[in-house]
Symmetry: D2
Subunit: 349 residues, 4 copies
């Protein structure tokens, strides 16, 4: 359960269902928030968010109690005035109009509830979920492409060092540099770009996910599509599998050291909605940032035509900052399914 | 809530939360089931499913009571013997292994719970949801591509006649014929193919969908990804928007006859997770049918290597029969969100 | 998820979340249904319900698959004509009026969805829950009082034999006989009576129930209050504890053979909403059957005053047949909480 | 969703599903919190809780946004040292032992999560629910009895003035004075007492509540039983109806000015789980405060026998402060059901 508007008093979440006796304090969460923080490089918004989190409940002497964990981040450094111009204008491809129509009015400051600042709550909850999942699970996301610039295919999961050493969170150095150059250029032109994030997860046991509506792949899709700016999701071979013959797309089983494995992984680690023990592998498409500094035509709330030029601090490309958000949402989904599966495993009364 | 294994006594569902006083009887549901039915053409499995549905509750004198509607379809014409060979073998890219690992054992007849026959329940529920949404909402899905054969871009929503007159449910006649030829050929080679279904929905008011985790786009993604064989989902421009500049991807607002519209619809009719009143527009990628009649290598449950050749009646390409399933899942999601939004609209105590 | 109207095609339920690999077949469920069945004695309605259940899904070769279990009971021996008189009249203390007002119309035959015949679904689900809980858990309910006739206080849980050998399901023989005489008398006068069912549960480990809103005691209360005709619920000393001093009401802890016990059990086996390992102990108050054969004043749906005399087959006292329903609802609640608690116990990924 | 331990950083809640455009600010909530506050009289704990609430989200310019409303109350004036003695001892009829057993450890300061201080969150949420329900709904609870002292039967709903002018929140002046004397006496003896709260609600339209498991009466029971120290719940005639004949218990319908009414209200305003438009009427039994200053026998976490004497600031009788909590929980339940019923009323797409 998350809450908070961009320029309200605070952003935060309450995480219920956490395991008891798990080590947790603000510093653990803060490390993940630092990766989401704006102002990490020229590629991201200069909004200097401190984003210092505070745990309000559910933790005692550095351990989780098993009861709801509330964490808040106060909103500081707000430039609400930046948004005065926009209060009555519907910014193209933003949620101003739909919020107005749905709720009758909205908080226009910084996008209010529809601001991507809401993802702070996701990173916090993901941080807690990762602690519950433990060290044997590795969730790694990275920027695979920005606009038309893609990194070459890589068989293995990139190392965290290779991802984090790139300002783009693209583990392929040459590609990362090209992306940086490209974004600097389009930023100076008032433009924005999108791209694709790739995520692989190892260490997940076979058996997570429910058969019909609550497939692991379905919940991952929902979780990713709920992230602001996401427009597409694919698991394993995804859209490409629509162009493969069955004999090529099928992943042959074999056994190695008593473990079931597949020679290919077009399924992306999920069969019939249930984790197969292979690497979970999915991609997420992000649209270009809706806020651009080029002039655009739009209407105001009285339906009069008007012009708009983006102000406010924003990212020309959200991808690098979205990497920890994708990881966080994956961790939340996986931990939820792990709890469900654990409920029926070794059941005892 | 759906239930049923492929070769068990029955498949069915219980739909709770339906509006009262809505016209409903078996014939209305049967019409939708007929579109999902196997054996409609050479493109689909010859399994001659009668799929006659029976309403067990929730309807009185042809009107819904507002209480749970249970509908069942008995499983007849089962050739369970076709599956004897497979009881101990893990069919590649099927859910045999993950079900065994998750539950300890499984019903091997016809894929048991993981059979696509489970989608009968989805079509039934979708039929009820469509009746609740009413005639002003038009949900139209069609086969846009099969393997590498794609129909040309079409601006408008195809007519139901154009879709249904094609055995492929592809409204572009020439493309449909090419697809038919192609599938006949690959079938004779023991192969299978996948493809992409496109869906557009008109008549949805602005305001459906919830701001953060339960975005309309996120629930649509989950619903589609929960359909057997689906590997990808994209809304509006989807993965292509990752390659557009912001100024091109943004949809400019304008007003026409007091209605808010956008000049393009890259957003796919959803802004900030909330329907904008524009046409909802998404695509769903299906992998090739996992069952093929070519020999494949796999393992049995004792982890011994073995060979497998597909038997059982199956579709070389599931796309045409998946069209009504995509429409059904869309209807279910939309009606659920319509109920939620209606709960706060014109609230009275 | 339950469904079904009294005189519709069938009553049934779908049970999701059941453990896999649990022994289950129709005969196990039928045994519990037999205890709920009407026509067991002069004390109950002569409606000769066969109530033969059929498992439609979720069970294979006598074992649960872990997927949804659908079970239906067809409605036979319906005397819908008995209700023709009532179609437009609002029977006092029945749900005719509120259903009409809520849904706009209703199925008047046999009370439709509001009929106590709906409890068939509860008994079926309870039967499955009991199998999942296993033999170490003993759930025993009995009729403690009917109108002003109460059995004497009993320290121990009565045996199933003592309960079942009484047509009243009152384990105290002399009281049971008095109840029988009393009910025969009031029945001949066209009257009905209520009473109190007592339920004790042993074998529940410490730790079931959630801290705040989802206390074990709260969910038990909801479950019991959802049974038709129930008007009150109390746990442990219940309303009597409102008249005790703290020093008398408090249950002193002591240890015996390494087990924590309490010298009294005013808490009814639940502390802070969580099972304490002591016997769970609660009481449920049932109102007298609303249908009586005495003439009553009421109104019809046009709000005109009218008279009504009960017809249809009904019980002058529902208590004996409600005993298995109370046990079933308790089993459902306990198994749900056992799953939740098991999800965090011995968690492994 | 509530969170917070007694001596943690804060207590609070997040309320999702609130109507947009409802007037709300801290002062509105604070008024309700003042009624729950300790230290209102000699009858309550001297803990001087400031309980100043702060709205963190969901409200803009004094109006609700329709998005989650987070409200927190910081924990000040904590005397955690009072609880040092108890960290290892299991206080009788407290949740120390069950929390330890369930979660492996607990926050012993002030009862941690099991403290009645958690009810702050309930009062906050109730305050918001009452604003959404509007002024036409009147929810009035009062103390009807303390130990063996009961006020006389009153036909009408007591006025808020009569309730609030009594330090006991008992609207019958003479009874209130007797209760005060009695509690002063038992407090001096180190004792505690319980009692019964009566609640009546007017202005609720016919139709709230769902037919089977989610009856309005069932959810009210759950909500009340989830309040700390509650041991019993009854609706309308409740346990007394178990001793009435059907002809006496049944509430005859009549019509007045086109409205359906009943001559008696033994049903407590709910028929078949659905509000009938009559006054909703229920009672809640509270046990005596578990903390007493008399010496008690108990065990410590190593299962050694020990003695315990209550310290910490506590109420000898929680009833007066529980009145606003009962009202709050009723408001939450009613608003939830009003949303559900509104979703199907005047449905439009």
């Amino acid at each position: 359960m998350s809450f908070g508007e961009s320029h309200g008093a605070a952003i935060g979440c309450v995480v219920d269902g956490c395991l008891p006796n798990i080590e947790l304090d603000e510093s653990i969460i803060q490390k993940d928030l630092a990766r989401r923080k704006p102002g990490q490089s020229a590629m991201t918004t200069p909004r200097a968010e401190n984003d210092a989190c505070k745990i309000l409940s559910g933790v005692y002497k550095g351990k989780t109690l098993g009861t709801p964990i509330a964490v808040v981040v106060e909103n500081l450094d707000q430039h609400s005035d930046d948004y005065n111009d926009f209060a009555d204008k519907y910014r193209p491809s933003h949620a101003d109009y739909t919020y107005d129509a749905k709720f009758g009015f909205r908080d226009p400051r910084g996008g209010g509830r529809s601001s991507a600042r809401e993802t702070i709550a996701r990173v916090i909850a993901g941080s807690i979920a990762k602690k519950c999942l433990g060290d044997s699970v590795e969730i790694r996301a990275w920027v695979e492409s920005v606009h038309s610039i893609s990194m070459p295919f890589a068989e293995n999961i990139p190392s965290i060092e290779d991802v984090e050493s790139s300002p783009m969170r693209c583990p392929h150095k040459a590609t990362s540099e090209k992306m940086v150059e490209f974004i600097k250029k389009i930023k100076s032109e008032g433009e924005s770009v999108g791209g694709v994030i790739h995520c692989k997860i190892s260490g997940i046991r076979v058996g997570l996910g429910e058969p019909s509506f609550d497939k692991l792949s379905a919940e991952l899709a929902k979780a990713m599509m709920s992230i602001p700016a996401v427009k597409g999701f694919e698991i394993g071979a995804g859209f490409a599998s629509a162009r493969l013959f069955g004999s090529l797309n099928n992943d042959s089983f074999y056994a190695e050291n008593g473990k079931v494995k597949t020679r290919t992984n077009n399924a992306g680690g999920i069969l019939g909605g249930i984790s197969s023990g292979q690497t979970i592998d999915f991609k997420v498409a992000f649209k270009p940032t809706a806020t651009i500094t080029k002039e655009q035509t739009t209407i105001d709330k009285n339906l009069n035509e008007t012009k708009i030029i983006g102000k406010g601090r924003h990212d020309p490309c959200v991808l690098p900052r979205a990497v920890p958000i994708v990881e966080a949402m994956a961790a939340i989904v996986l931990f939820d399914f792990a709890l469900i599966q654990n409920s029926r495993t070794n059941f005892s009364i």
